[in-house]
């Protein structure tokens, strides 16, 4: 029996305050004209109408985190000799993220297949992933840039979430979609949810209707490889790209990172930070050779990774859940949907004319 509860909008802050007693709680709110996930602050309004400008990726995969602290020790007996010690710096504590969207949160299931495999476990990622719960809001409205239904997801996709919150009149219908989710729904502030189930289903049906028909992307892995060597194709689709990192940093499924050292005096840290395949430095080798020397090569890798390589490696799953941020926030209006469709429709003979 699925646990369903009803939360009145007016009780939202009190409920998050309860959760904040034992966890760090993140919720979306306005900072300037953008909506970002910030530590819950009862003084500030929580924004729940639509997806945040920046997804809650940082709660599990921070923009920058320490991996190792190291120290050089001078040997007093032998000043020429220096000893080093390195210590791992593991994240602590539990976190609850309120207000992500299904496309935001499902993104982590994409991470899992890379960060938590049989051979390799990224313990930093695991420490956060295991200790972070997601109370996800199903989408009641869609945007021009939404395409979750193209890539096998939906506005109420529960994958990766612990609780799914469907907006209903006056509040949310909360459904536990994991065992951990059930433990989150024990508060006395929450009311019986069953009477609201029907209304919630109507909301979800309506939004699916709004999304319209999705094109078939099942051919994208093969088709993208077919156009791999057609640089004219890639130069054209990447012409307006300005090589910034907005698309990758706002992407809930982009998981690439850089590792760099910072040192002051004898102490320093090795840190991991978000990295961006649209930057030339991403693949630049020390010799000066760069396997992806132009933005056309780099955009090809970004699109190829999401719609070809990843699905080829991971049971056909496209590594994109259609949140549309890369389209909406792109300063130059690069539209990944358009590129994928162009590749799928691409007929080599047409171009050779």
């Amino acid at each position: 029996m699925t646990l369903v509860k009803y939360l009145k909008s007016t009780d939202l802050k009190s409920w998050l305050a309860e959760l904040a007693e034992k966890n760090s709680v993140f919720a979306p709110r306005y900072e300037g004209d953008s909506v970002i996930f910030a530590p819950f602050d009862p003084e500030q309004e929580i924004y729940t109408k639509s997806a945040a400008t920046v997804p809650p990726k940082k709660t599990v995969f921070p923009q920058s985190e320490k991996l190792v602290d190291f120290t050089y020790h001078k040997d007093p007996e032998n000043p020429g000799k220096t000893l080093i010690d390195g210590k791992e710096v593991l994240p602590q504590g539990t976190t609850v993220v309120f207000g992500g969207r299904p496309c935001d949160v499902r993104g982590f299931s994409m991470f899992d297949r890379v960060y938590l495999t049989k051979e390799t476990t990224d313990i930093y990622y695991k420490a956060r992933r295991d200790n972070t719960s997601f109370i996800t809001i199903a989408c009641e409205f869609t945007e021009s840039t939404c395409f979750c239904h193209w890539v096998g997801s939906s506005p109420s996709d529960p994958i990766g979430s612990d609780v799914l919150a469907v907006p209903v009149k006056g509040g949310f219908l909360l459904t536990a979609v994991s065992a951990r989710g059930e433990t989150l729904l024990t508060s006395k502030l929450l009311l019986e949810g069953k009477p609201k189930v029907e209304e919630a289903e109507e909301v979800l049906d309506k939004v699916m209707e709004n999304l319209g028909k999705a094109p078939d992307l099942s051919k994208s892995p093969g088709k993208l490889l077919e156009v791999f060597d057609n640089m004219e194709f890639w130069e054209k689709v990447s012409a307006k790209c300005i090589s910034c990192g907005t698309c990758t940093y706002l992407c809930p499924t982009c998981y690439c990172f850089n590792i760099t050292d910072e040192i002051q005096g004898l102490k320093g840290s090795r840190i991991r930070s978000w990295d961006n395949c649209m930057s030339a430095l991403f693949t630049m080798e020390a010799s000066g050779h760069n396997p992806r020397p132009t933005k056309a090569h780099r955009l090809k890798n970004r699109v190829g990774h999401k719609f070809s390589y990843y699905p080829d490696l991971h049971d056909g799953i496209i590594s994109c859940y259609g949140c549309g941020r890369c389209i909406k926030s792109c300063p130059a209006g690069v539209d990944i949907r358009e590129i994928v469709l162009k590749a799928i429709e691409f007929m080599p003979t047409v171009v050779e004319e």
Binding site: D33, F141, I242
Partner: protein, 319 residues
């Protein structure tokens, strides 16, 4: 727009001699435009001139050296082209400039603010005075003046400063003698400590995507920016508001006497950080001290690339 067809005609005429012409066309929804690369006859029809054409297309020029490129410019964009020419970063022989009288562009952040939530945009009808945006079957009527970009409200160069083709009637140059720095001056009235806190607060949400830099037409170092360089090591990769602010100062200073205030840095910012103000401050001081504006005269030398033995407007501290 009235002269849109005329512009297409000019492009059609020039295109055989050019590798590409850069203009704008419709984008993912009726409320957005996107840069449009015209390679052949078949691409011309898509060209659209509208207040949605926010992008400064001069940004693409330094990366296309060696190619014959046509570029459609708003008045403010043309200043970037002039500045690039002043600094010899592009060659006049390689570019063909298409100008038109610009009546201003829309600031999407203002639209977002006015409508509240811009979801599924079904249509966007624009007239000279207003635009009607239909979102989820609900029409929102906005006055153009309410959503016009700040820079357009006090625009002094509505027509391209230089052009090879100019379509439409020139807008008689509006004449505020000086740029408008009212917002900046308001900010400067805050106490010093408040200003410091303001920047820390605003920049905390920076995601370090460097769209501000990549969208800037005068940021020509491109793949060799010191933001990512390890040697010299100006910035760390820590998620550190100090490094984020430092980068904005680096950008502003590297733009000193070069910035044409096209505002692309701020428009490109995915998290709406008001970074244009830093460049405006730099420009205001450049104007005060050197009586200089970037990108208005091909023959000018940017002030930090020259000097005078006696500087009229610099008063040094008397110890």
């Amino acid at each position: 727009m009235k002269f849109q067809e005329e512009l297409k005609e000019s492009i059609r005429k020039a295109l055989p001699e050019l590798d590409v012409v850069i203009g704008w066309c419709g984008s993912f929804d009726p409320l957005h435009a996107t840069p449009h690369f015209i390679y052949g006859e078949e691409d011309i029809e898509k060209l659209e001139i509208s207040p949605l054409n926010v992008h400064n297309l001069a940004t693409y020029l330094p990366g296309m050296r060696g190619k014959k490129v046509g570029v459609v410019v708003k008045g403010c964009d043309s200043r970037s082209v002039v500045e690039l020419l002043q600094e010899k970063l592009i060659s006049r022989d390689d570019i063909t400039i298409f100008g038109f009288p610009c009546t201003g562009v829309i600031d999407q952040s203002k639209v977002k603010k006015a409508i509240g939530y811009v979801g599924n945009v079904q249509s966007c009808d624009m007239s000279d005075e207003s635009l009607v945006v239909v979102v989820d079957d609900k029409p929102h009527s906005l006055k153009l003046s309410e959503v016009l970009a700040e820079k357009c409200k006090s625009c002094r160069y509505p027509d391209a400063i230089i052009s090879d083709y100019f379509v439409g009637d020139r807008i008689a140059k509006k004449d505020p003698a000086e740029p408008n720095y009212k917002e900046l001056e308001k900010f400067e009235k805050l106490a010093v400590s408040e200003r410091f806190g303001y920047w820390l607060k605003e920049l905390d949400r920076c995601i370090r995507c460097y769209a501000c830099r990549s969208a800037c037409p005068l940021c020509v170092c491109r793949d060799h920016c010191i933001a990512e360089s390890r040697d010299p090591h100006w910035l760390s990769q820590e998620n550190n508001v100090r490094d984020k602010l430092m980068f904005q100062v680096i950008h502003a200073y590297h733009m000193a006497g070069r910035c044409t205030e096209c505002g692309e840095c701020q428009r490109a910012c995915p998290v709406d950080i008001p970074i244009l103000m830093l460049k405006q401050k730099m420009n205001k001081e450049v104007l005060d001290i050197f009586n200089y504006e970037a990108g208005v005269n091909l023959k000018d030398t940017p002030p930090l690339l020259s000097f005078k033995m006696e500087e009229e407007n610099i008063t040094e501290k008397d110890w």
